[in-house]
């Protein structure tokens, strides 16, 4: 167990953080809005943590204090929330694919800005971000609670007045409006909640990856997150979580298969490096064969029903 954790520490924490990021895509989707803006807020959160921990609270000897990481997460979340509100109000006038395109553009713009500012370290970025833990696996102390709180939040949200308004918009925006739901208000709310969460994840990631630059939180991340949600499932928050966990582990698993040997060289190479190609194929297949993802509310009901039946 200890050797397993030590070998796969980076992967395990990445899986949990990916699951939280997948939830940032799920929140706007609850209201029927396909936004891939969260990598932008993730990048922003990372820069805020990187700048705060290297410039505002310059590292002393020993480990960086965890409470300061929490403070950075809070600041990153708030800043992302404010930016999310500012971007969301105009962007959410757009519908469907146009919103997706606008959010892709937003991610690109943030990347270019980060690349050209002094405070973000330009192309080199910010490196030597101090470590709050002596080993990577201990980042689980931040990642796991964040994932659990996010899941609990969304599970509760689905059973509240606010959550029902979001889902009503997803099901039929016009009918929801005719029932008194203000579409813009609730879309912006979902978008802002997503931004807040993505900013917090970025703050953890900056410490975890140790360096932060404009290659973090790009369109590639958008595609990955979209895969997590579309393949995992977009109609229950369990889908994105499972999608994030499994699909983050998948490239490592494929690499393991490639290393077993006996495979043709080109196939081994593809298994090692073809992550985005494989994700692309999964998205394409998913939209045809399981448009609501692998994990659906119906599936969960059946599993729950069997669980209850066997318990009785």
């Amino acid at each position: 167990m200890a050797t397993f954790l030590a070998t796969y520490d980076f992967l395990l924490v990445s899986m949990v953080l990916a699951a939280v990021l997948a939830l940032t895509l799920y929140l706007p989707l609850m209201a029927g809005q396909l936004s891939v803006a969260s990598p932008g807020f993730y990048a922003l959160g990372g820069y805020i943590a990187a700048i705060m921990s290297t410039k505002v609270f310059p590292p002393g000897p020993g480990l960086y204090p965890v409470p300061l990481v929490l403070l950075e997460m809070a600041v990153a979340a708030m800043a992302s929330g404010v930016l999310g509100l500012a971007v969301g109000v105009p962007a959410l006038r757009l519908r469907g694919i146009f919103l997706a395109l606008a959010t892709i553009a937003f991610v690109q713009i943030l990347g270019v800005v980060a690349l050209n500012l002094d405070v973000t370290g330009g192309a080199i970025g910010i490196f030597g971000i101090p470590q709050p833990f002596s080993s990577q696996i201990q980042y689980m102390w931040l990642a796991i609670p964040l994932l659990l709180v996010s899941m609990l939040f969304i599970a509760r949200l689905e059973r509240t007045r606010t959550g029902r308004a979001l889902v009503a918009l997803r099901e039929d925006e016009l009918a929801a409006a005719a029932m008194g739901v203000n579409p813009t208000h609730y879309k912006v709310l979902a978008f802002t909640m997503s931004a807040v969460l993505a900013g917090a994840v970025g703050a953890i990631s900056a410490h975890f990856i140790n360096t932060w630059n404009s290659r973090q939180g790009t369109f590639d991340t958008s595609v990955s997150l979209m895969t997590f949600v579309l393949v995992g499932g977009s109609r229950t928050f369990v889908g994105p979580v499972v999608g994030g966990l499994v699909l983050t582990a998948l490239p490592e698993a494929l690499r393991g298969i490639a290393d077993v040997g006996g495979l043709p060289g080109w196939l081994a190479q593809f298994l090692r490096d073809g992550r985005l190609i494989i994700f692309g194929v999964l998205i394409a297949m998913g939209t045809v064969f399981f448009p609501h993802g692998l994990i659906t509310p119906g599936l969960l009901r059946r599993l729950g029903g069997r669980g209850r039946a066997s318990a009785a």
């Binding site: 949200l157 007045r161 959550g163 029902r164």
Partner: protein
């Protein structure tokens, strides 16, 4: 009393005491005039029928009243206030609820959830208090569930609260839409062909349902319906639209004998 007075002033274009006043409302889609300078008033407590051949502009008129479409001209007044051009959710907040000709339920959601969503304007829990399950939010949630359950019972769907809306029969979907509209506690209810696709037994039950909710909840109802016996039987007054124009307005018996109405339905040769 007010109903009788309204019925007496056949053809009049609404008075200040009316709950809803449609005042020379016009709606153009490109070169097509879907609704042309239509005026009438609906009195408090009245059951007002809207009939006319296909494409006469009835549903467009509903969309104009509920804010789904903005009029090209004219004014809409509700309780004496101008509601012209308000977004749909604002119209709903003011107490105007509707059903849709081509049923628009939240298909993936259960029957009870469909009705609970429509309690939105009558409930107030915010994001944080809701998620944390604080006392008032928890109480409101319970009350919402009970209210929605009672409405399901009213329309005869009490035994299937978890059934997904898309799996219900057509008639049940139409009844569920009525329950959902009633969840807004509207003062004015707009029913767009509620009997479409129902058999004669279901139609009779629907008539009884409309009559009973009207009496019990003190509703004012605007009803689009093709099934003439149902309209004649239920409505205090009827307005007839043809090619976007109001061609007749009055008590059912009078409208039925109106030559313009006969011509609209049967053509010139009649």
């Amino acid at each position: 009393m007010s109903v009788a007075r309204a019925a007496a002033r056949d053809g009049a274009a609404g008075s200040a005491s009316d709950l809803l006043v449609v005042d020379r409302v016009t709606c153009r889609f490109g070169g097509v005039i879907a609704v042309n300078a239509v005026s009438f008033g609906v009195a408090r407590g009245e059951l007002f029928g809207l009939i006319g051949p296909n494409g006469a502009g009835k549903t467009t008129l509903f969309n104009l009243i509920t804010g789904l479409t903005s009029p090209s001209g004219g004014r809409l007044r509700y309780r004496g206030e101008d509601i012209t051009g308000l977004p749909p959710y604002r119209v709903a907040e003011r107490g105007i609820a509707r059903t849709f000709q081509n049923v628009r339920l939240f298909g993936e959601l259960g029957a009870l959830d469909n009705v609970m969503i429509a309690r939105h304007v009558r409930t107030h829990s915010g994001l944080v208090s809701g998620v944390l399950g604080l006392g008032p939010a928890r109480q409101e949630e319970r009350a919402t569930r009970e209210h929605a359950g009672a409405l399901l019972a009213l329309v005869g769907l009490a035994d299937r609260p978890e059934e997904r809306a898309r799996n219900l029969s057509y008639g049940d979907q139409r009844r569920l839409e009525i329950a959902r509209a009633l969840a807004l506690e509207p003062e004015l209810l707009l029913l767009d062909e509620p009997a479409a696709g129902m058999n004669s037994g279901e139609k009779r039950a629907l008539s009884d349902l409309i009559r009973s909710v009207r009496g019990r909840l003190g509703l004012t109802i605007l009803l689009i319906e093709h099934h003439v016996p149902l309209v004649m039987d239920l409505c205090d007054r009827i307005a007839v639209l043809n090619f976007g124009e109001l061609i007749a307005l009055g008590a059912p018996a009078a409208v039925q004998k109106n030559p313009a109405v006969i011509e609209a339905y049967l053509g010139d040769e009649a």
